[in-house]
Every structure is written in C-alpha cells, then in structure tokens.
Symmetry: C2
Subunit: 411 residues, 2 copies
C-alpha cells in the first residue's frame, strides 16, 4: 500500500511536469493527491466518543482481556488513571510517561516502539458484565443491557479465550505499535489485573472509512461492503452510540463491543466450488458484487428470482440474512481482523479465521442477528464461533485529568 | 513508516519551494529523497540464490514446517514443482496459477491476497535432516553438515513446534500476503505433506539492507546492528552461501537455515534496571551504541576497562559473546521476527519473544555460537529457547521449468 500511494503521488507530480507548470501547480497537485495518500499518523485520543470505533480501520490489531485481581476499588481507579495517561501518550507516539533514562530504575517504557511512528494507534476500553458483581460496589451502575451473552446457535466456546472484566482493543497500522500498547497496559496493571487472553489480528476485514477499499477475509471475499461508515453521523447516532435515554448516565456516548473469535475451516472452504462459495455469500468473489448486480456497491435485490423462480440471492446466503432490510433496519459497526494462531495439532489444519468485533448501542442487536445467522447461514458449514466477549465501552475522555470510565467510578 | 517516508518526501519538496525553484528542481528533490522511500514491491523469484536470505528484511513473517506424508517420491517432486510455479507467481503478486473463475471447480487461488500489492513477498525453502531417511532414496544425498542440532545449553524444546521435513519462510511487507503464501502451499501440498507447525512474526528484529534502520526487539533494544548486509557479497560468500567445495553438489549456492523460537520473559525484563539491561546487552537502550561508544555503529571496544579495571562491556554481555572478533571471525546472517502468541494461561504472562532465523554456510557455526551464548550470556536470565529447526536450503531456481530442490531429486 505504501508503495502504491507513493507511486500515485509521483505520478501526479509527473503529470504536473508535463503541463510545464511551476511549483505552485506542483503544490496543487500534492493537495489533489492527498485523498489517496495514507491518513495522518495520529488519531486524537480525546473526544466525545472513544477512538478506535468510528476511526478508519487500521491494519493491525492487538486485543487483550484482563481480570481484576485486586479487591481494592481505589487500586483499580488508580490503574485506570495510569492507563489513560499512557494511552494518550502512546497515541501521540510518545513513550509511557516516566523516566526511561535513569540508570537505577526500570525504564518507564519498554522501548520496542521507540522510533516507530504513532501509526494511527487507538486504544478502546470496555468493561465486562463481571465487573459489576459485588467486588467494587458497581452493581447499581450496571446497564440493563450488559448481561452475559446468551447461548447462541452453533457456537462452541472456549472459556479461556472468552469474557473478562476489562478489554482493550489496540489498533494501529504497525503491529509492533499495537503490541507495545497492550504490553504497556499489562505492565502498568501488574498487581491490579492479570491478562486473561490476548488476540493478534493481521488483516482488517472491515472498513469504516469512505476512502478505504474493502479488504478480503480469509475466505477470499470482500467483507464489510455495507458496513456503517465512520463519517455517517446519523447512522452512528442511531446504531452505535448509546443515547441520552440510557438507563446508566455513564454510558451516554459509549457503545457495546462484541468480540467473537470465529474459526474458519479454510481447508474445507478451499475445496468448495466457486459457484457454491458465491452462493454462500450472495456475492461474486472477484468483484464482490451482489449476485443481482455487477459492482461491489450495487444494492442487493433480495426479491430477484432466476428463470426457475428461485431467488438469485439464496434464502440462506450470508448477505441476505445479515442485511438490515431483512432485520427491521438493525445495523452494527464491524471492525474485525483476520487471525492465524498456528495449526490444529490433531489435523494440521490452520487455526485461522476472523476475530469479529462489532460495536452497537445495544448488545441485543448482535444477539438478534447472530441467532438468525447461527441457525440459518450457509456459511455455518465453514465457520464456528469459538470464543466470545461483551464489554461496555464508556464515552471518550474529553479533558486532561479525566480517565477511562470516570463516569462509572465517580459519584 | 509509510507516513514518515511521505512526510520526508513532502518536506523535501517544501524545501525546494522555499528556494523558489521550478519543477526541474522539484524533480531533483524527488530523486534525492528516493533512498528513504520504500523499496520496489517485487523481489525477483529466480536467481543464483533463493530470495528471502540476502533480501532486505520485510516487515512480516509467516513460517511453516511440513512433514511429508506420501511414500511416493514422484508425488513429492510433483508437489515441489507446483510449489515453485505458485511461489514464482505469488512473488509477482499474481494468484496461484489455474482458473479462479470457473463456476464448477474450486478456485485455484484462495483469494485473500487479491488486490494487495506483491509486498516484496519472498518464499524460501529448506529440507530438514528427516527428509534424508530411507523414504525417498535421498540418504546418499545428505550433506554431512545436515545433522539434527545437538542438545544446546539452557534450551527446553517443544517437539511439536520443532523440526520438520520441509520448511518455508514467507516474508512480505503485508501480513496477509505472507499468510496467503503459506496457506497456498499447504493447500497445494494436501495429500503429500501435512503442516507440522507454523509461526507468524510481526516485527522484524534484524536488518540486512544498508538503507534500513535497525529495528528493536521486544526487549526494546536495537538488534542486528552488526548483521551481515545483503549487499556485502564478500561476507555472504564467506559466511552464508555454501561454496563449490561442498560434499553435495546440490547445495552449492545454498545455505543452512536455523530457526529458534526464543521466549522472552518480558515481564521480568521490564522490572530490570536500565543500567542492568544495558549491561546485559553491552549497548545503550536508546541509541543502541556499544557501551564503549556513543553511536549505534561505533565498533565495540572489548578491551576497554573502567576506572575500577573491570571491562566496560561485561564479560557476559550479549554483544561480547556474539561478536565475530571473539569467535574466530564466525558470522551468521540473522533474519528474525518478534512474535506474540497470546498468554501463558498459567501465569497471564505474554507468550512473546523472538523467532530467531539465521542463515549460515555451516550449521556448526550456529552451534558454536549458541553453545557459548547458551551457557554464559547474561541474557539467559530473561530468555529461553523453546523450539528449534535446521533446514538445508538449496540454491535458487534460475530458469523457467526448474523447481525447488531439483538438484537434490534429479540424477
């Protein structure tokens, strides 16, 4: 991608050269080329909403879930304060605050991101249902919507990779920057939290940016064509951000994060015919067009039938079952990543798939969609949900001195 | 990195603008900025030596080891031929050859790299000692140097992540491109080989390119400062490529690949004082300078002593023990990557470290160095070698129709 952007950019300059124009024109040419160039490397940490949700999806993921081990609420708040300070610094490409040059203390920053760009790092925090038990006096602050996800069709969940008291999604265009973020929080949390599970993701499978091309998942299909865009304020307000009517004031401007580790049986998928693969998704593989259209962004025609009277987009096609038109307008913002965690030692098959992340103003939306998909989706022959988590993401930090989740902990 | 390159590039243009120069000067400025820009996205597949060894290190790794399951030598050769054809295509950014548009067959290419750039993909093959047993009539072709690595000090090896009949190192700047390469070979090999283990790496820890900055490992230190450079033909000939005097003609122009999965106990490391960390490596953390110098590429002065008469670079410092000056001139070409494979569920500690890869004309060089490092290196308090592999890499494919390892299999 970097090479391509630079090539385009050089191309635009060369064009200006042919026109015999001076530097002012070259300047114009630079501006014209800007939309195709990489986005700015810093994403603002502060804001009404947390970064990493409507932010254009970065290329790499490091996700961590933690369990709180301290019984002391003050320790927990103190850790969240230090996490917030560190996250704000790292988003700027700065090290974790504190001395990293004093000989007789451990360096405040572990150092592996030193010299790397900020790489659009975002860190997004969420609290799991288990945080609202009797340990920290938060039971009365629990949103009614924050219940453990119910059992869903077809899932086979590994508890050791599921749930957790706190989750942090770190996304960046450089994987070492994303890893550094998670490692730094784990380190700052030592004695207060313990890492429950982590997941690296290496290829985004969704896009939220109008200028981003739709990436392909490990089944080779474009995914996320109809995702909510990060600049679609109306859709975000309607489907993603918790509104002012929320039962818990601290969640206003927040959202709910659902994580699902979805194993793909890629070896089986790779033996399936192209025509069947396309029927499973309801899209063409190469262009990503709905089977009723010719281009990726054509609107699917779910009523279209073929010469024999059967639907062109099958009744159990993934895009039919997931489409908002067929789900009373329900939409979620997806932000998943591909993963590969080695092989299944019993078969030699790749332990690979999609680490699905979605954000929605009500977890019930995900549950409704997944009940339907989990029971009927033609994809189910090739996938299985193997881990799960639900986390309530508070709104963003809007001023220095504030911290992640302050609305939950402060009176 | 992409942002930085682009920023530098824009900066150089802005400088030309201040000078009031026309486009011809802007063009000069572009040329001057070129060395800092990303390398061309295609690495030639054919060559005297395999690509991926002296090639400037790419940002991402997907490594796979396979065991041969067929008893039939012809099947094995046929697979190597199909792998070679596929690897040559993928290096160009082309799909695995064959139809991916015929409805009633499985697509020849799985598709997840469709639309991505070639990303400097290289694939490098090697054969393990186990290939030279009595299955395929190769016993007489076994190089004397290709013996299983001896037990080495301090290691605690997981056999399920070690060794294998065949290994393939796929490196690329895009992780999905590297994954696609390994997945495609596994698919083509179905029925002939089974995946024994795989390893993803996300941050290069070495550099072989003169224009590449030295990256940091997960201990936050610059590693590979004194690595063999990819353009140092004399050093490559002396230390990396197997020469014409080899006992097995098929290995001339080849090399030996050693892979070591090195777990880093990063939580312990992070609690160590800066001064101690620097003494362990023998370098400063921030600049990467030897403790006897001020800049990264200063030559270490292993004879220097402090006011109290003790060596400035400690007797057990990593760079002292590894230096060619202290090992009769022995050198290896390193090409390792950082990894993080989740957490150790018993402790919550990060299962992270360095996937070490080295190339050398004789595996005995690695053994000699590691015997010394494994018994004396101050780093050993913070690391452990937990998996291992040795593979004989044949020379490169130099003409169409030839295949990986043809010299081994042909009379």
């Amino acid at each position: 991608m970097a090479e391509l952007s630079r090539r385009r950019f050089l191309g635009s300059l060369a064009g200006a050269g042919v026109a015999g124009a001076g530097l002012a024109v070259a300047g114009t040419s630079i501006a014209a080329a800007a939309p195709a160039a990489p986005a700015a490397p810093v994403v603002a940490f502060q804001g009404e909403h947390q970064a990493g949700i409507s932010t254009d999806v970065q290329n790499q993921l490091a996700f961590a879930a933690f369990d709180v081990t301290t019984p002391d609420r003050d320790d927990l708040v103190s850790m969240l304060q230090s996490w917030t300070t560190a996250a704000a610094a790292m988003a700027q490409g700065a090290p974790v605050p504190g001395s990293s040059a004093t000989p007789d203390v451990p360096p405040a920053d572990s150092g592996e991101a030193d010299g790397l760009t900020p790489s659009r790092l975002t860190m997004t925090i969420g609290f799991g249902p288990s945080m609202f038990d009797d340990r920290f006096g938060l039971a009365s602050r629990r949103p009614a919507a924050l219940q453990p996800l119910p059992a869903l069709p077809g899932e086979l969940l590994d508890g050791s990779r599921s749930n957790g008291d706190i989750a942090v999604q770190a996304c960046a265009d450089d994987p070492q920057v994303a890893f550094h973020a998670i490692r730094s929080l784990a380190r700052l949390g030592r004695g207060t939290v313990v890492n429950r599970w982590t997941q690296l993701g290496f290829g985004r499978t969704s896009t939220t940016g109008a200028g981003q091309s739709t990436p392909r998942n490990l089944m080779g299909f474009k995914d996320g064509t109809r995702n909510i865009r990060g600049d679609d304020t109306a859709a975000l307000d309607q489907h993603v951000w918790v509104g002012n009517g929320a039962d818990q004031a601290w969640m206003r401007g927040g959202t709910y994060l659902v994580a699902r580790r979805i194993r793909m049986f890629v070896e089986n998928w790779d033996r399936d015919y192209l025509s069947d693969q396309q029927e499973v998704f309801g899209r063409t593989k190469s262009a990503g067009a709905p089977l009723t259209g010719t281009a990726e962004f054509d609107t699917p025609d779910f009523g279209a039938t073929g010469p024999d009277g059967t639907p062109v987009i099958a009744d159990n096609a993934h895009i039919r079952l997931a489409a908002f038109e067929n789900n009373n307008g329900l939409r979620i913002l997806r932000r998943g990543y591909s993963f590969n965690d080695g092989i299944d030692p019993t078969t030699g098959d790749l332990e690979a798939g999609l680490f699905f992340i979605s954000f929605q103003s009500d977890p019930a939306t995900f549950v409704t969609l997944q009940r339907k998909l989990g029971s009927s989706d033609a994809l189910n022959e090739y996938i299985q949900h193997v881990a799960s988590g639900l986390f309530a993401c508070p709104p963003g930090v809007t001023r220095n001195g504030d911290y992640w989740g302050s609305g939950l902990f402060e009176a």
